[in-house]
Amino acid sequence: MGYFRSKNIAIFLVIIGIYFAVDWLLEEGIITKFQQVNLMLLGINVILATSLNLIVGFTGQLALGHAGFMAIGAYVATIFTVKLGQPFALALAVGSLAAALAGVLIGLPTLRLRGDYLAIATLGFGEIIRGLAVNIEYVGGAAGIMGIPRLTTWPWLYAMTVLTVVAIKNFINSTHGRACLAVRENEIAAEAMGINTTYYKVLAFTLGAFFGGLAGGLYAHYFYLIQPSTFSFLRSFDILVMVVLGGMGSLTGSVIAAAAITLVNALLQDLALLRMVIYAALLVAVMIFRPQGLMGNKELTLNILRPRGGADRGIVGD
């Protein structure tokens, strides 16, 4: 009933507007090659941060293996395009599904573990994926796969980014999403309310893995080459930093943080190492002084443009 409310139409128009605006800037060559790389990276980071936020922020399961899902998506999609000559759309879909499948397989046993143990088990899983990629000659071993066609274009990237954010937002606002929030707030209470906590944890984990894999596929087809070292646990930490800075449990926070970090990275290109030192210090400072991150679990919604009163409607606005 509410699909054609004025707000939804407005958001839809803004989304379409941004697409054509950037498309025009690209056509006219106003966006330079260097900026273009960062634009693509921005989209990929948004997908990674929002999908990890679903697991860490909304379901409360600290997972440190997101780069592993990204690796699966990247490798499987690349095998489909480079080795098997399949179309890009199919490759992306299969890559994402493979990551989701890995999400189920790794989630079912490990999500019984709590907190720290889960963190370390998922970290171990990410390293296993990387280790396997090094040992499989078919995917180039430690050297990785080179000469991947550049199939990730602006329309693809933008469509996939919007799809991810909208899908995760709708999931969180659904019954299933509410169940995930309940698991985060208090697992024992949620269980007492009849929520199958394992099911919802695995569900969130699988969805997060799916989109992580999607980001991997997009990444591989923009940057020509993938190597196991691209997907080390340092990348998982990078994604986690975006989620934490943006606010665990805030989708708009993740989008803003992913965008901000990508942009700051681009601006401070020359300070590569010092930049990482500053990030690390920032991460510690945020945890000490504002543990809920930039946005906490609030969302930036169109409601703030309106008079007070409609602004505090539930966790994710609507």
């Binding site: 409360g60 600290l62 046993p109 490990t110 573990l113 907190g115 720290d116 143990y117 963190a119 370390i120 088990a121 970290l123 171990g124 899983f125 390293e127 296993i128 280790g131 396997l132 090094v134 040992n135 430690a142 024992i188 930490f237 986690l240 934490v244 665990m248 190492l273 010092l274 990482m276 030192v277 990030y279 690390a280 210090a281 991460l283 510690v284 945890m287 000490i288 543990p291």
Partner: protein, 295 residues
């Protein structure tokens, strides 16, 4: 047979270093239930302190080791005071992410300050003799003997501190029940500081030994040993001191056997598969007791 003995010797050496690092993880976890991700990077700092002490200050190995141990003990206490103490009442997730932040800070700070070069100790830093056993088929170096001896010494010292001194008694009390310990007049903050100092000192010993054994120092050298030692602590049962020692030696031997008979590329995946198996079937670790979580 000779091959097996050789791999066991290599494994014990590596395992000894893992055990030293794992001790710090397990002590800190036992007291404040925090995975101190920065622990591996303390190892790197220690190796650099020793490296600069030997190359710049031109001191011998023993003073360099002492210097590294003292420096890292202070660094460990400082990290705890600045980064972890404000978060002691915060959710566990916040503390864990802070620990990751500290780790990234030390690694990238190291890369920024010291560059990305691998450095080696000057030749002749340690006199390395090779002894042959079993009719010349098995080799053991004096470095390996030193590592094993130092590891065992540290373990004996730790057991003594924990079981026969006042501060050790306080540590056990705080690990058992922080509030009750505080009510009994134990200064919890200083016990936590002592724990960090001890753990970091052990990591420093491990770091200097690691640097000398492989003869390289690098800002990211602490990453993998740190992670593996944590795996060792979990396998042995985190929070249990003998568990960390057993887990360290166990992991070292497994790694040596996998590299010896399989391929060294398979070493890391095997370690992590082992970790996940242990977590699934004995989440409390091989030496741990199963506990039921109360609501």
């Amino acid at each position: 047979m000779a091959e097996l003995v050789q791999q066991l010797i290599n494994g014990l050496t590596l395992g000894g270093i893992y055990a030293l690092i794992a001790l710090g993880y397990t002590m800190v976890y036992g007291i404040i239930q925090l995975i101190n991700f920065a622990h591996g990077d303390i190892l790197m700092v220690a190796a650099y302190v020793a490296f600069f002490a030997i190359t710049v200050l031109k001191v011998g190995v023993v003073p360099a080791l002492v210097l590294a141990v003292v420096f890292c003990a202070l660094l460990g206490v400082a990290i705890e005071r600045i980064a972890y103490k404000p978060l002691r009442q915060a959710p566990r997730l916040a503390a864990l992410i802070t620990a990751i932040g500290v780790s990234l800070f030390l690694e990238n700070g190291g890369l920024w300050l010291l560059g990305t070069d691998f450095r080696s100790f000057p030749p002749g830093t340690v006199n390395n003799y090779t002894y042959t056993l079993l009719g010349g088929t098995v080799r053991i170096t004096s470095m390996q003997l030193l590592i094993l001896a130092l590891t065992l010494l540290v373990m004996v010292i730790l057991q003594y501190i924990v079981h026969y001194t006042k501060v050790g008694k306080a540590m056990r009390a705080v690990a058992y029940d922080k509030e009750a310990a505080a009510l009994m007049g134990i200064n919890v903050d200083s016990v936590v500081s002592v724990t960090f100092a001890l753990g970091s000192a052990f990591a420093a010993v491990a770091g200097v030994l690691w640097g000398l054994y492989y003869n390289t120092v690098h800002p990211l050298m602490g990453l993998m040993p740190g992670l593996k030692a944590f795996v060792a602590a979990v396998i042995g049962g985190i929070g249990i001191i003998p568990g960390a020692m057993a887990g360290g030696f166990f992991l070292g031997i497994i790694e040596a056997l996998v590299s010896g008979y399989g391929s060294s590329e398979l070493r890391d995946p095997v370690v992590f598969i082992l970790l996940i198996l242990v977590l699934l079937f004995r989440p409390a670790g091989l030496l741990g007791k199963d506990t039921v979580e109360k609501v």
